[in-house]
Symmetry: C2
Subunit: 155 residues, 2 copies
């Protein structure tokens, strides 16, 4: 399927009090190449293998394929990944019609907080919460695959 | 799991008359890196996503993880792969206690025929059929991931 999303920095911690859910995420990359990323993720008690293509020219749309795997399989595959496993806490916050996912990064990416919203079309309108900062959808430095190789604290 | 296998060139076409099964295979790589390969394969009417680690020091053992996927998913993922999709015909031949897989390569790798036998341990004894040629287990040029980037007809 094609995933359409927009990505923003986060201007304050106000989002935390509105979170519906909170999960720890650990993820690594079997391939962090921008043409095709292969990601292994553990989120809470579940494992996922996710393959993404390159973004289109607007930077908003991208092919995405995901398969559920066991946490045990994900742990084994994480051992194979390139250096730079990303750890973060994901908060899910409902804002009007849309669910925002806010990632508070830990470890080498500590200090970075990114909000993402998934859309049905590139032109879809959505309500912007007060804590939303500047848009970084087209800035490839905020790709998790880039952060895994070039962590935020090294910028 | 850990996959243990030995790989040989094939000295004659005599294996064909003993084949139990024959399937067309098309496969590409989302990552052809020797540290970790991510392979998409269509074999007959089935699709597979396979992740392999690096070989151990003997070259015989390697971590392998495989998931069945639909042919439709495999076709979509093949479009994302690096250049160099491999096409081959796989013959399966029972020799004594062991099943040999013989790959007759097509397209840019035409002329290459490789036999593989999977073992339970690195020291396991197996019967060698008359058509088996020299062993190439430790020669990385015969990795399919290498052949996808450096096809046999270009050697």
């Amino acid at each position: 399927m094609i995933e359409i999303e927009r990505k923003f920095l986060v201007a304050s911690n106000a989002f935390k009090s509105d979170a519906l859910r909170k999960n720890n995420i650990a993820q690594g990359y079997l391939s962090a190449h921008t043409e095709r990323t292969v990601r292994v993720r553990i989120k809470g008690e579940k494992g996922y293998l996710t393959i993404k293509g390159k973004s289109n020219e607007t930077g908003l749309s991208r092919f995405e394929w995901e398969k559920d795997i066991s946490v045990e399989e994900a742990k084994q595959l994480l051992l194979l990944c390139e250096k730079g496993v990303i750890e973060k806490i994901r908060y899910e916050i409902q804002v009007g019609e849309h669910l925002f996912e806010v990632d508070e990064f830990l470890g080498e990416n500590e200090g970075l907080v990114i909000a993402e919203v998934e859309l049905q079309s590139e032109s879809e309108i959505f309500e912007k919460p007060s804590w939303l900062g500047i848009e970084v959808t087209q800035d490839h430095r905020y790709y998790n695959s880039y952060l895994s190789q070039n962590p935020f604290t090294s910028w």
